[in-house]
């Protein structure tokens, strides 16, 4: 993998994702709302990762395809897998950083209101948030390679809706596995706090993330990219 090209795509993606005023305002409102709810109503840390992920990851690859940016980017000798992994890394780290900052702010405010939030609790919440960001965005990147624009969000929401509506017709096991595919996450306590370590939980999460990225890379390799492909 070309580290320089990888870094350039990561920085360009950060710049592109975090410079859209409407998305930033919506993210800010969500973080503020979640923090307000955590401090005044729940008196516990509230994780905003999923909503932030959906906003910041929308069309991570698909928008580049439909706008013609990807066709320009690929005139450079950039391996498509490098481009894809850089996109995933950039969006995941941006979402995880925003979510962790929100959690840290919640912890400070909760402590100032007399609620005991330990450093360990904050670390566990941040770990869950970072793994949820990496997991959900791997799934969204896969969908984003398959459809143009922000169709990835439509697919993700549609699949969740189907799962919700079909819960009465399918066994609970199918529903549970379906949800764990769409929202892969790893809880610190549930995985590493258990004795012995929950190896199935760990391998399930890592397997879902790598499979999504692998399928996305293979699909992107087969995709014909042109200015007319959007």
């Amino acid at each position: 993998m070309n580290g320089q090209a990888f870094g350039a795509v990561v920085v360009a993606t950060w710049r592109e994702r975090l410079s859209r005023p409407i998305a930033l305002i919506v993210c800010f409102l969500i973080c503020a709302g979640v923090t307000g709810s955590a401090v005044t109503a729940d008196h516990a840390l509230q994780d905003p990762t999923l909503v932030l992920g959906l906003i910041l990851a929308a069309g991570s690859v698909g928008r580049d395809v439909s706008s013609g940016v990807l066709a320009l980017v690929l005139t450079r000798p950039l391996v498509r897998t490098t481009y894809l992994l850089a996109k995933w890394t950039a969006v995941s780290t941006a979402v995880a950083a925003l979510a962790c900052a929100t959690l840290a702010l919640q912890a400070i405010l909760l402590r100032s209101h007399g609620v005991d939030v330990s450093g360990g609790e904050l670390w566990r919440a941040a770990f869950g948030s970072a793994t949820a960001a990496a997991g959900v965005i791997a799934v969204l990147v896969l969908f984003s390679v398959l459809v143009s624009g922000v169709g990835d969000i439509a697919i993700w929401v549609g699949l969740n809706l189907i799962a919700f509506l079909a819960q009465r017709f399918f066994p609970l096991r199918v529903h549970t596995e379906w949800r764990s595919f769409l929202q892969p996450t790893l809880g610190w306590d549930a995985t590493f706090g258990a004795t012995p370590i929950s190896w199935f939980g760990l391998t399930s999460y890592l397997s879902t993330v790598t499979l999504c990225l692998c399928l996305a890379a293979l699909a992107l390799n087969r995709k014909e990219i042109s200015y007319a492909s959007g």
Partner: protein
């Protein structure tokens, strides 16, 4: 317009050491390895000894003892399944721990609703509490108070914290 990065690139293009469509070999190997590990750990868990329920005195859905005891303490429903790996972890970490189990036995009427139990009482409970994922713990306090629930296994400490809060809220 031809694709910007088509497989049939012009011959005049500068030769590259690596194709831009190079297959992600390392990623494919990693994904295959982790998928095999996932299957292996899943099979291992499936053939592990069946869940004993730890040290908690579970009642079955529809047991007449539930109605008798429910007047004195809140009812704790444990919606779980033998195929549910986090349920196994919760069994080991919470229900097999003497201190936690003693607390649950003293504070709740504990009812286990296994996914495999297709009896009328179990099915009605699953519908009433809209169980979407496993494990789910639902604490039903006395009349007039809202049930409290926790989905998934967030770890021993948080589960016990939830049970203590729910038990306090459910005291008549």
């Amino acid at each position: 317009m031809p694709p910007a990065d088509s497989a049939e690139a012009p011959a005049a293009a500068a030769p590259q050491a690596t194709s831009t469509r190079a297959p992600p070999r390392v990623l494919m190997a990693l994904a295959a390895l982790l998928l095999m590990a996932r299957i292996a750990t899943g099979v291992h868990d499936a053939y592990s000894p069946p869940r004993a329920g730890g040290l908690v005195h579970w009642l079955a859905p529809g047991d007449p003892a539930i109605a008798e005891q429910a007047g004195h303490k809140p009812v704790l429903y444990d919606f779980s399944a033998s195929w549910c790996e986090p349920c196994h972890v919760m069994d080991r970490e919470v229900f097999s721990d003497a201190e936690s189990a003693n607390y649950i036995n003293s504070a709740f009427v504990a009812v286990r609703v296994a996914d495999e139990d297709q009896s009328e009482a179990a099915t009605a409970l699953r519908h009433r509490h809209v169980i979407l994922s496993l494990p789910t713990l639902v604490v039903v306090p006395h009349e007039g108070k809202e049930p409290r629930r926790i989905q998934g296994f967030p770890g021993r400490r948080q589960t016990i914290g939830f049970l203590r809060t729910a038990a306090q809220a459910g005291i008549p």
